[in-house]
Point group: C2
Chain length 332, copies 2
Amino acid sequence: MKTIADIAKIAGVAKSTVSRYLNGGSVSEETKKKIELVIEETGYSPNAFAQSLKAKKTNIIGTIIPRLDSYATSRTLMGIDERLRELNYHMLVSNTDQDLTREIENIYTLAKQKVAGIILLATEVTDAHLKAFQEIDIPVLLVGQQHDNVYSLVHDDETAGYAIGKYIAQRGHKKIAFLGVSEYDVAVGLKRKKGFAQAVSEHAVDVEARFFETTFSMSDAAERAGQLFDEFSPSAVVCATDNLAIGAMKAAYQKKLHVPTDVSITGFGGYEVTAMMNPSLTTVHIHFTEAGHTAASHIAKLVKGEDVPKLTYSRFDLILRESVDIRTDHLL
Amino acid sequence: MKTIADIAKIAGVAKSTVSRYLNGGSVSEETKKKIELVIEETGYSPNAFAQSLKAKKTNIIGTIIPRLDSYATSRTLMGIDERLRELNYHMLVSNTDQDLTREIENIYTLAKQKVAGIILLATEVTDAHLKAFQEIDIPVLLVGQQHDNVYSLVHDDETAGYAIGKYIAQRGHKKIAFLGVSEYDVAVGLKRKKGFAQAVSEHAVDVEARFFETTFSMSDAAERAGQLFDEFSPSAVVCATDNLAIGAMKAAYQKKLHVPTDVSITGFGGYEVTAMMNPSLTTVHIHFTEAGHTAASHIAKLVKGEDVPKLTYSRFDLILRESVDIRTDHLL
DNA sequence: GCTGGTTAAGGAACCGGTTCCACAAAAGAA
DNA sequence: TTCTTTTGTGGAACCGGTTCCTTAACCAGC
């Protein structure tokens, strides 16, 4: 492997000149030609460490994720990776397995590795997080959660929750179950629920809405939904993620409830598989990949010292499919 | 941030001594104590670049994947990341979007970044791959595909294909469709099909097996399966991945074919969602996460110059669920 | 023709570690 | 006691870049 000194020697110049050539300093046309030729011939490419040693920074963006086995995460990562490649960065992935302690640890480890920036697919922002962000002195971008002190990219969960709540309410449902997750996850657990509740209160009268909680796991959701059908027998179940909705559909099937005639079910996310289900699932499609693109662009700008909006919203669409029915019972 | 020189000065020794202390050279008990204390107090941790500059190597393992939006990939990555963390390595992920050119490019780019080793979730091994492996002089581990010249970890697709073929054949099916993917993907496209075909020929008589091809996409699979039902009307459809099976189930539903009484369907992979479908899907569960663990352990050993088996098989289980029925038509 | 400003290029120091070498002191062998 | 051998330590070079400082050359203006 050739070094900058080799190139300099072959081209008959000093290594500082080669360095200047590479980094756009003032070099005469003549010398430029010479150096260019040598680099071409030798296939020289600078050693990233030596550069980083001096610059105290890499071209690596660290991405911290709570879990890898999630559609939302995968898609977001795809988007991030795609855009980062274009911008000449690399993506270092660190999975925390939903362990908050490990999340904090990872922030420091990545900082030690001198990544240029950190994208955090967060579920919660604690004081420990804020402390870490301050200490490391590296740009951080939050995705999926919002905090005033940090650059954030969120999926506008509240508005999306409102949209689906309104849709269900307008379809005449009067007994609606909301199957969600812990409010510790502000975006998924709190905001979606809040938007939904708001919509229902505004767009329907005489509605009984009940709120149930489970984990992110399909099978837990199926179990919880099973109980919920017995306890409450709703005409619609609004789920906080598509996985929960898949679980709920399973439960309905096991209880011999037909979807959508006996019970309507909606999801949240827009996972590919929701189109394939029987019946296909009405859901909110969140543009995760696009959000990933934006996240990558933003962190790159932050790294370069440019400014980006403190808070950005990603897009969503309501996807209307077969799993929701209109209820006219109350009109009889 | 403190440097080794600072530590040396504070402890009143030479930096070479501190370096020796850190790397296990000969240092007296007394000096050890002194240095230990200073490091403790200052929270010193060595600069990774300076180390890498000299060592010409990082503690980063590059992982090249064809796509991120796949259950198999996610799970494998989870396993890899989990084990790598334990072994004190980091995982750098590079997505190629199933573009072979980009795969080759990535190998060189990672090599330039001086990753310690490369794990390649391969779909195909071309001469360009082999050439790249040779040139970069970095340990490479292939996952999912096998090649004699490279360390490989494969999912024993042929045996698994055989297992499911045998199972279907023994259930009395006589018209069996195999819905697969291009043979360019040796593991998924070729081996699974081959194992299946072998089993059918050994365990059934008077069988008509037909082979159909589609892409990895659920919706393409649904479309292809729809045609296949018209052309061939099989009593069983064996699919090369769970996603294809999900598509096939959708198609069956659209054609008003009941699963499993009209047609049996099987998958391959063991994705979580297959348990949630109606009916639940009979499939082969491949232990992707476990395979990821093994892959990480192996690449770490290779990096350290230790030896591992040239070829390792990961485990699989047949998961019997509701989507397969017994056929007794031919006994009438 | 002399002074001053601009541009191109070389030399050396520096980033923060590791490692080789030399040397002194302590330990073991003769 | 004297002569190796071992052990611990410091100093310096090195890894491969970047950047600051100097100097030389060139051109313009007075």
